[in-house]
Symmetry: C2
Subunit: 534 residues, 2 copies
């Protein structure tokens, strides 16, 4: 359960290497079939029975969703279904959860949540409609996976049900968006949701439709055919020309004990200080797709492999004007499918950054390049320190991409959230054609502190040391509250409300203590609860 365990997780994969999913392309449809190899867990110690999933299974799913967008734009609808007998998916593997550290459990859930949001993002913005073909038992995280699809169909075989048995069987929540998507996305009546989420055996057939838990049921004999018809109907709605697809190249970073190096992104680890430096270097040219894919991978490694790093210093290198020009091209070309996909991927990566539970300090210094889409990295940070050099060479700049094309999880742009008190300011900054030197950036409210050269090193060092000395839990909670000002939507509630409650429950003896329900799942003993309500 130490860092060494999670350090083994592979985050890059390819359909040819999948162990748990089969991806079949038959344009305009694709089918993603879950047939988990129970003998191939991500780390040794448990079997992945009944199409239950662990991080390794979800890494493949996330890979498939990403490749479908970029490599198979001809696909207009995707059917997710089960490949084992009478089971769609039984959810997250309980033995994996029960034997994982708290930190891993939380990050595992965050990752799977992000994968499900990527599915919804594809349905909403990429013209790839996801349908869940629940051809057997659809339990817990299995139903939560279905909930991420645009439509859910259940086989009517007198046996197969959808269920969220976490509360009655495990003493934890359906925390991968389940409760939120029930009442907020599918608008299931709250009392029916209450009954459903406490009923271990779930709901099947006509009642599942009446309660809005699924969009339809079909008998086994007509199931595949009906799903195919429905998928073709949805696919036919998408008439925009797309393609040809491009190949997502391997990232294959070089990993050493104190660094992870990609072509443009470098993550340097200071294990003793519990800090890291994440540098995005585009001085050789800005290729947004590659750069943001690298950034995304680096963030995942940070979360899953280096959980004792509490503070990340974010830096950039490159030419401001070049980045602004690339951004301008992306903005002008956003109607074209590949450009749109690139911007959507950039947006998802930036949301992954917002949701990374580490303190983030952006450092704007000589040769830095926080412009436009890279400026968002600074805007996602908890603080922005800028060097006030005597020549005024240190600068930041906006681009049209700061105007809302890279939204936060809850909808608004980072500039809108930053200037909630002065909405016009956000628009002025987007429209500003001149770069901001330290004085102008401070005046505009873009930086937390503009610091003179003589104080620069000391002030940064003290800020970093102070931050790294504070309680990691208090910082995680504080950052989760300060980063997301403004009204919350369902997506934000998954991370804010639902995940926070789940984290609390994961840390309570009633779930994870020696006699807790999660600990004892599958064992003959009954859990013992401390009955006090809070």
């Amino acid at each position: 359960m130490g860092p060494s365990r999670s350090a083994g997780y592979a985050l890059e994969t390819h359909p040819q290497q999948y162990r748990h999913w089969r991806l079949a392309i038959e344009p305009p449809l694709a089918t993603l079939t879950l047939a988990v190899d129970e003998e191939s867990p991500a780390v040794p110690g448990y079997k992945l029975k009944l199409n239950s999933y662990d991080l390794g299974v979800d890494v493949e799913l996330a890979d498939a969703v990403a490749r479908l967008r970029f490599e198979h734009p001809e696909v207009r609808a995707v059917i997710i279904t089960g490949g084992l007998d009478r089971v769609f998916c039984a959810g997250a593997n309980i033995h994996m959860l029960a034997t994982s550290s708290h930190s891993f459990k939380v990050n595992f859930c965050k990752y799977t949540n992000e994968t499900r949001l990527a599915i919804e993002d594809a349905s909403a913005h990429s013209g790839q409609h996801y349908l869940a073909a629940c051809n057997g038992t659809t339990a817990g995280g299995g139903y939560e996976l279905a909930l991420a699809c645009e439509e859910i169909y259940l086989v009517d075989d007198g046996n197969s049900a959808v269920s969220l048995p976490e509360v009655p069987l495990l003493g934890v929540l359906p925390g991968t968006g389940g409760l939120t998507r029930l009442v907020d996305k599918r608008k299931v009546r709250r009392d029916l949701a209450d009954v459903f989420a406490t009923l271990a055996e779930g709901i099947k057939g006509k009642r599942a439709v009446e309660w809005r838990l699924v969009d339809g049921v079909f008998p086994k004999s007509r199931f595949q055919e009906s799903l195919r018809e429905r998928a073709l109907t949805l696919a036919a709605l998408e008439t925009q020309p797309k393609g040809p697809g491009i190949v997502l190249e391997p990232l294959a970073p070089e990993v050493t004990s104190d660094a992870v190096r990609y072509r443009h992104v470098t993550l340097r680890l200071n294990h003793a200080g519990r800090t890291a430096e994440l540098t995005v270097n585009v001085s050789g040219g800005y290729s947004p797709l590659r750069v943001f894919r690298e950034l995304d991978d680096a963030l995942l490694r940070l979360r899953l492999h280096y959980d004792e790093i509490g503070l990340v210093i974010l830096k950039t290198r490159g030419d401001l004007e070049h980045v602004r020009q690339v951004d301008e091209d992306l903005y002008q070309g956003r109607g074209e499918w590949l450009t749109r996909e690139t911007v959507l991927l950039m947006a998802r990566t930036l949301r992954r950054l917002d949701l990374t539970a580490r303190s983030l300090f952006a450092v704007v210094d000589e040769h830095s390049c926080f412009a436009g889409s890279l400026l968002e990295i600074a805007l996602a940070s908890d603080r922005i320190y800028m060097l006030r050099d005597s020549e005024g060479c240190v600068r930041m700049a906006s681009s049209p991409l700061n105007g809302g094309l890279l939204p936060m999880t809850h909808g608004p742009s980072r500039l809108q959230v930053r200037f909630l008190a002065d909405p016009a300011r956000a628009e002025e900054i987007v429209a500003e054609s001149e770069p901001f030197d330290a004085g102008a950036a401070e005046e505009a409210g873009l930086v937390t502190a503009a610091v003179d050269e003589i104080d620069w090193e000391d002030e940064l060092r003290v800020a970093v040391e102070e931050r790294a000395s504070l309680s990691p839990d208090a910082l995680t909670g504080m950052e989760a509250n300060l980063r997301f000002a403004g009204a919350e939507n369902a997506d934000a509630k998954v991370f804010g409300r639902l995940s926070a409650w789940q984290n609390w429950i994961f840390s309570r003896p009633n779930a994870t203590g020696e006699r807790g329900a999660l600990t004892l799942y599958g064992k003959p003993e009954r859990p013992q609860f401390n009955w006090r309500r809070t």
Copy 2:
């Protein structure tokens, strides 16, 4: 730390009995002066130094806010200030928190949050503007109290600062709305909020104004006078005739080992089954103000005195048509000040019910009276069971008060939240002049289950037993997620996002373990953190 400890908390008080606050009425102003008697904690074991507060202090504040509305309608602005030398308020008492059970900590914070929302409700809807006159140190919960006021003024004496030192000093959050109100209510820029919330010494003077932390600073010599002027200006905005005030009579329930009995409300406790029955009986006539004050008090006793009760069965008794007539009068008369205050109090009480972390089952049976404002009690419940009697005598009914005058914390009515999938339905139910028998109620989606007489007792018994057997933590988390469908505002974020994170932190060893920061506060030892981020 057992239930016996909290059972001692007195929830009713009167200005003549205050130990910690002084209420001075000088129409159109009132001044609430905090001068905590450090030798009078709510329970023995700690001293309330430096104007720090515990539940007893906040019970007095809540009482004052309620009495100002009803007993002193001539008051149009309220100044909250400190009565000790150079201190406004140092926040919640740390030794009280450190020695309290998790369950008490959570409920203490919930109560203080509700008191602060009552202050905001008075500023927004009752024409009583609250100003914080921070005439000295304003730290932690002290600043959170100020944040609940419409305007905040700080003395400029070169020394007094506002601060949120929870993260750096205690390893917990400013969880009484602090973080949320910073960025959502006062719209403080998120990076400045980050600096502020990690800076133990806080911010003073001009910078506090620039960062939007306070609305102004005045030198000591002009402080009182300037506040008075500002309060008179706000008071002058309120020109609606109000008064004369009425007296809020004592509730003085009769408390026995298995019941709390008020005039209309009875809370019967089944300690062995960990359930309670809460009955609202208006068969002798419906006096909404009295009934809802009793209900409010009963809910607080339930939360604070009986934390092992996991499930509350909600019942009503009375005449449907009488309640509807009283509601109709309230609706027609809502422009008049006392009627408006009564409806606002009903709304706050119902929100207290929504936020009560116990399973709530409404039972609609013979002689029950879930009509209009009392129907909201059922709509606030997790489930509604209705007896389907052969004569059709068991009925429910709506009134105009179901149309939005009794909103939930996040804004919408309970019917709107219930019928998110079918907004017209909520309006139809409000407009329906006929009562609903079991068949009609089921058809309209008003009940979870309409149960035949022959199955009634068994079905209820099984539902209650099943519910009472589930993990109390999982139920608390589940209910907090299913009850509040729809977009969230700042108020909802305080309870959903902020409180959930705080509960998590309260249960983590880094805060409350033997070497946790909260445990060791004020002791010579330094806390020891597990540095893993989650």
